[in-house]
């Protein structure tokens, strides 16, 4: 038999699979957060591997803020059909009634109502005792310290000072009634791992990650894609067609595009690798307020 040396991606994948199975075996009502981006795509892929040939034995939850890129929604529905997973979408209906949007109410209030509150509503409604997310430890400083199985009290609050020691792979999955666990199978992956894994495993991701001519307007240095007619144009503002792509996906009015020619997966990996120091460094020394804010808006609620 040929000597197979486990690469780090094999090791990361196996570790994540083990975490998924631990959730399925230990909790009554798990749910997986599905936000349609690259990390969610990897999460979905690993989840399918963990339970094959069974289907994923818990639902996937998407909190729809109503301002996601149209392509994201189409991609989400196609994935659900293709892989036959149980998709739950939730929108804060009170927010819809009040027509909460990022233009009139500001991004912070909009994010709070349509994302954070909406997520709590969905988790309470489903009475989920474990919520699986795609967050990674290399993303953010507080995440660097969070456990793989991260305990939440009945109010969904994290107590960082009182985390359970997490030794070996012996995850303490015990919770009291009303409490829940957030679980992060991709904790030990880096952004580069995510991209190389997507490449190696040929995982489908929304094409918004690839450069293409798209209609954008420039606002305080940020390129915003005009994804539908709801984006109010300032006087004299006309969308320009530019070659752009997105590093992260979220609500289109709050997601900045970058100008890029990288139209294939290897090209964006190379492009990202060339600039990866600045992305990561931004997180490391916390100098880039805007960047971390954006990150928060993209993914912060989890």
């Amino acid at each position: 038999m040929p000597e197979i040396r486990h690469s780090h991606l094999d090791a990361l994948e196996a570790e994540s699979i083990e975490i998924f199975r631990e959730v399925a075996a230990s909790f009554e009502r798990p749910v997986m957060m599905y936000s349609i981006g690259k990390d969610s795509s990897v999460l979905l892929h690993v989840a399918r591997k963990a339970f094959f040939p069974s289907k994923i034995p818990f639902p996937l939850l998407h909190v729809d803020t109503t301002f996601k890129f149209r392509e994201m929604i189409a991609f989400r529905d196609r994935m659900a059909e293709q892989y036959g997973f149980d998709l739950i979408t939730h929108t804060n209906q009170e927010g819809v009634v009040e027509n909460i949007n990022p233009f009139d109410h500001g991004s912070a209030r909009y994010t709070d109502i349509m994302k954070t509150v909406a997520l709590r509503q969905a988790l309470n409604a489903g009475q989920y005792d474990a919520a699986i997310g795609g967050a990674r430890r290399d993303e953010e400083k507080s995440r660097a310290k969070e456990r793989v199985f991260s305990h939440r009290n009945a109010q969904h609050a994290w107590d960082p000072k009182n985390q359970r020691p997490e030794l070996w792979r012996l995850f303490n999955t015990r919770i009291s009634p009303g409490e829940s666990m957030r679980v992060f199978p991709l904790s030990n992956w880096t952004e580069l791992d995510i991209w190389t894994y997507i490449y190696k495993e040929e995982i489908e991701i929304p094409s918004l990650y690839l450069a293409k001519l798209r209609p954008v307007v420039e606002r305080s240095g940020t390129l915003i894609m005009v994804d539908d007619e709801r984006l109010p144009l300032n006087e004299g503002e006309t969308p320009q067609e530019k070659m752009v792509r997105f590093r992260t996906l979220g609500c289109y009015p709050l997601t900045g595009a970058i100008e890029s020619e990288a139209a294939t997966l290897p090209e964006i990996i190379m492009e990202m690798n060339a600039s990866r120091t600045s992305e990561r460094e931004g997180r490391l020394i916390d100098s880039d307020q805007a960047g971390s804010m954006e990150k928060k808006k993209q993914e912060g609620y989890f």
Binding site: S142, K161, P165, I175, T264, E267
Partner: protein, 635 residues
Amino acid sequence: MSITQQAPQLDIEQWLSAQTDKSILRFLTCGSVDDGKSTLIGRLLYDSQLILDDQLASLQKESHNRTTGDEGIDFSLLVDGLTAEREQGITIDVAYRFFTTEKRKFIVADTPGHEQYTRNMATGASNADLAIVLIDARKGVLTQTKRHSFILSLIGVKHVVAVVNKIDLVDYDKAVFDKIDAEYREFAAQLGFKSLVTVPISALRGDNIVSKSTQMDWYNGPQLVPYLEEIDVAEDRVEQPFRFPVQWVNRASLDFRGFSGTVASGQIKPDDDVLIAASRKPAKIKRIVTMDGDLNAARAGDAVTLVLDREVDISRGDVLSAPGETPEFSNQFQARLIWMHENPAMAGRSYLIKIGSQMVPATITKIKQKTNVNTLEQNPAKCLELNEVGTVTIATDKPIAFDAYAENPLTGGFILIDRLSNATLGAGTIEFGLRRAQNLTYQDFDVNRQVRADMKGQTPRIVWFTGLSGSGKSTIANLLEKRITAEGKHTYILDGDNVRHGLNKDLGFTDEDRVENIRRVAEVAKLMADAGLIVLVSFISPFKNERRLAREVAGDIQFIEAYVNTPLEVCAQRDPKGLYARAKAGEIKNFTGLDSPFEAPEQADITLNAAENDPVDLANELYDLLFEGHQYSAL
């Protein structure tokens, strides 16, 4: 619309292939607080080019404001940026950092240096293949250096790099390095590391980090980063006996039943024989299923789903193993335990143990000794406080499969969990099994009360509640039983409802019948205690003589008389079953307190005033009396 894979250019593909093929090294940094850990991590991030020029420039500017002088850059500023954030509340925890070199990917567990956070250092060590122990050249080997090194050996980190940092501050003096090198090696010799190198470095100036320092011609050992890139830490798990803890049973369809898990050690291929540790039933591997297709072999570290050739009863927690090399299967073992909680570890307490995918109630049966982590001396101990390490024996409620930790960390390491708060209390490493359950022959020992009690991890007792009807006996007994049961102990309540309707239904309420009633209950309580149970008897039992009889029947079984003292008026007013009303109406004769006497105990072991206190508090008071180390006379 979505991405379709396109043929990439060759160099990109090669680069990606190099990325995906890199191996991974998980290490932790530890040592005393001021030994330069932050600076070293900053230096590693810097040298693996995770810091940009513009950021470096501002770093240089900032560094000049500090005390590093001339061309020096204060790399600790990188990590100190985090420290400020940490000070707002999460100072104490392990942080994970990531960096990559041409040859390898690294996950660093950056562990806190303070003594009070030893548990977090242990957490970081538990998933590390290697440890960098920092030693300040000016200070030499400190207590904390020793403490951390001991924890490393306990957790089973096999490879250690002791870096003697700040060597520039002692003028790159060979004698200083040699002295520390000798001292540390002498201490570490007791700890059984597989590899140990000592490297003189200056994290600040980059000496011996990536390339050989020009300042230390006398040093011919390895440089830090090249050493980390090259060291082979692969434990030969593949060569070890096959262990497969079943994590999840995969029932994809009526025709498919597979067992999902990660191979802990060894390897397996179709047609290989396996044995199920608990049931000792054999089977053959039929298929090794993954989404990428069936495999012709699975090895340590692979997360797979095994299909067997026959129907066998297997569930989560079972361990599949090689037939000739099975794990121990027993309910008692000796282990080393690191305690991680403010509430100390005590013998006799019941916890949950998680080992592999098995989780069962377990009791610390004995704390044999604790280790002074500074001197490695063993001292006698009654309990283990936070951050203390000791040798204990543990009994589980049912047999579990395990190996010695030294032989197999994945099947020999465990955690203890609090049954009420669910907190993780401690982490242990099994030394050896105390009783080989699979070899037991029944002639070997007498099954007696002690054996039955040990299996339940408890001391059998009889708690005898006496008091008027409606005084609150059953309420308190029920609350007490709930609490005891939640801790995994085995109890039974004997009261009027379950005895009068069955065993004693031939008895009335005359004085003679009352005596016989109590005699029978006392005998049943004794049998149950002999079976190992904690028995709660809730009977009015109004006569002193009967209660003394019950105590005598119990013999050498601990007997606790609990007098629930509630004034008659209060009981009559509560009248939960409407009995007082009926008695007063003349429907019930010989009613205790009305037309039949209640002889209050004069020397009850505990008197509970249930008129003025919350029954929960009384149950807790009684619990404390029972389990917090009080002694009782048998008679």
